[in-house]
Point group: C2
Chain length 339, copies 2
């Protein structure tokens, strides 16, 4: 494990590809110390707290072997910013732990280009990291700030609340199906939706504006219905979802309704926000939608919990409740360990 | 990548092995929200800042294939607490990102046992994480608190400062050499030092007490001389080290002097603190040593920088300066990318 060599080494790598990128940014005042010491330092402003989230992406599991490193750098940070957004936190900085089979400079240049493009877009600085050889694995921990007590938790949904989602659902799953040749898509159609899989847009501004509006929120990474269950469990409530209301892109709407429902309801990799809010907030939500030029769709209701396990009742376009056998295939969530 | 299954899944795993352990602890008041939401929340006390460090451990690189999961859980957190200690920070909490080839319950039980044993010892709570399938990789990000402006940085060493190390050096490297059959050690001797490799003691209390005493500090993970260079580079100074002063265990002292010097000077995995302090602090340092019952050894001096690159001059027992060819093999640092 210990070894001696004069080739390009761990410290050079971090220095060259990451420290340079980090130094080029204007870190937020909350960052007291960035890369180069045993620890980074963050001091939040008075009456602010720090939101923390972590994700690990593994080659062959979360992205294809040989995936474009620039897209990968972008997405690795995007999915963490999406978690910050779901709490209503404003990004401050992140740490990067990276295992790489070899110190491939070309790969590192492209990866850091993608990484810093989104980091700059959201003023989120790289403040520390670790680089090692090993199977390609990317682990990012991201930090955001928000006024103390204002975080949107999963536990606040109340019976009677509306259920909302941002943007459209299912396109990332449709792009994956097309790239896997499970579904045939025209070149033009694929081009229009492929960015939803590779370069998700974290809904950071939406999260911040929802702080005073939403009763609960999360980001949809494993599919709407699977993720919604986390809100239900934490809030101890049930839900009714109207499948025909799920927002879909024009490309997904060209598919048959079974594919539409499955991909929109449990596709995964959407990185939209699902949130709940009292019905008195509808006007406020419409105003947020207009100001952000982002579609926000009312897709269902929170209801009283009926049984021991939380329950999602699904309704079809004609208002008919789907039977358990019709519902079952849709309620299965994305699971990294299942195979 | 998306898949459907009723077997034990990602969320169950996190729930069962980690949330239970986390819930059993009494988190520090700084932790506003732990596992179970999109993010954890930390709110430091007034006039405190948060120190953040991250590490990634890869099977076959940082630990042997098939390594004891209980020891691994312990060490994975210990090395991060060691980084917090080097800044003078008091541990608060940590996130864990874990890739595992399969959802092996026995492995997870042992790993979490080791992890929580050290987490409890240092009152450092698990506050979030991510679990996925993949080649065994452990990435921990740890958080500590300290009074604003009191962090011990690498950049504060001044010419004339004494250089100190805690504990003894080289035993972890000696244990590794014995386990690799590079060096023959008696069963009894190996038993006495093996814990230095598997269960390093993060010098948390020492770091806290050094806040008002040390001018610079870091923890020794890649070998004393290689790591000391980071202090020299950040502080723009040179150093003189007296090799015969390096503190060694009785077991290491049984080896020939070449092995002693190499393992103590650049063995790696020591997780002791190396720090600098003005000579007027010697009494204070002796008092800290006595109160913690921890040996602190004065091993050299910080000097003015002479050339473009920082330089470490090594001196032998008879006060003779080692030539560059004698010094060279000792100055090479542990590097994860070199092979």
């Amino acid at each position: 494990m210990a070894s001696q060599s004069d080739q390009i080494g761990e410290f050079d790598l971090i220095q060259r590809f990451f420290k340079t990128g980090a130094d080029a940014m204007h870190p937020k005042p909350a960052i007291g110390l960035g890369i180069g010491d045993d620890c980074a330092l963050i001091h939040p402003a008075l009456n602010e707290e720090i939101a923390i989230t972590t994700d690990m992406l593994v080659e062959g599991r979360h992205f294809f072997v040989g995936a474009d490193p620039e897209l990968l750098g972008f997405k690795a940070l995007a999915v963490n910013l999406s978690d910050l957004a779901a709490m209503g936190a404003r990004p401050i900085g992140f740490t990067l732990a990276l295992a790489l089979p070899s110190a491939n400079q070309q790969w590192l240049e492209a990866f850091s280009k993608g990484l810093f493009s989104i980091a700059k877009q959201y003023s989120c600085s790289l403040i520390g990291g670790d680089t090692t050889s090993g199977p390609l694995t990317i682990s990012i921990t991201a930090f955001g700030s928000l006024p103390t007590g204002k975080a949107i938790r999963r536990s606040g949904a109340k019976p009677g609340d509306d259920i909302w989602v941002s943007g459209t659902l299912g396109d990332a799953r449709l792009a994956l199906a097309a790239l896997r040749h499970e579904i045939a898509l025209s070149e033009t159609d694929l081009q229009q939706i492929e960015h939803r899989m590779h370069q998700p847009t974290p809904r950071v501004e939406l999260g911040i504006q929802l702080r005073e509006v939403a009763s609960a929120a999360l980001d949809i990474s494993d599919g709407l219905l699977g993720d919604l269950k986390h809100i239900l469990e934490q809030s101890q409530v049930d839900a009714q979802i109207f499948l025909d209301r799920l927002p879909k892109s024009g490309i997904l709407l060209k598919q048959n309704s079974a594919i539409q429902n499955q991909f929109a309801a449990c596709g995964g990799d959407d990185y939209e926000l699902c949130f709940t809010a009292g019905s008195h907030q509808r006007d406020a939500i419409h105003r947020i939608s207009q100001s952000l030029e982002l579609t926000l769709t009312h897709i269902g209701q929170i209801t009283e919990k009926k049984n021991t396990a939380v329950q999602i009742e699904l309704f079809s376009a004609d208002g008919k409740r789907l039977s358990d056998t019709e519902t079952m295939p849709l309620l299965k969530s994305f699971d990294h360990f299942a195979s």
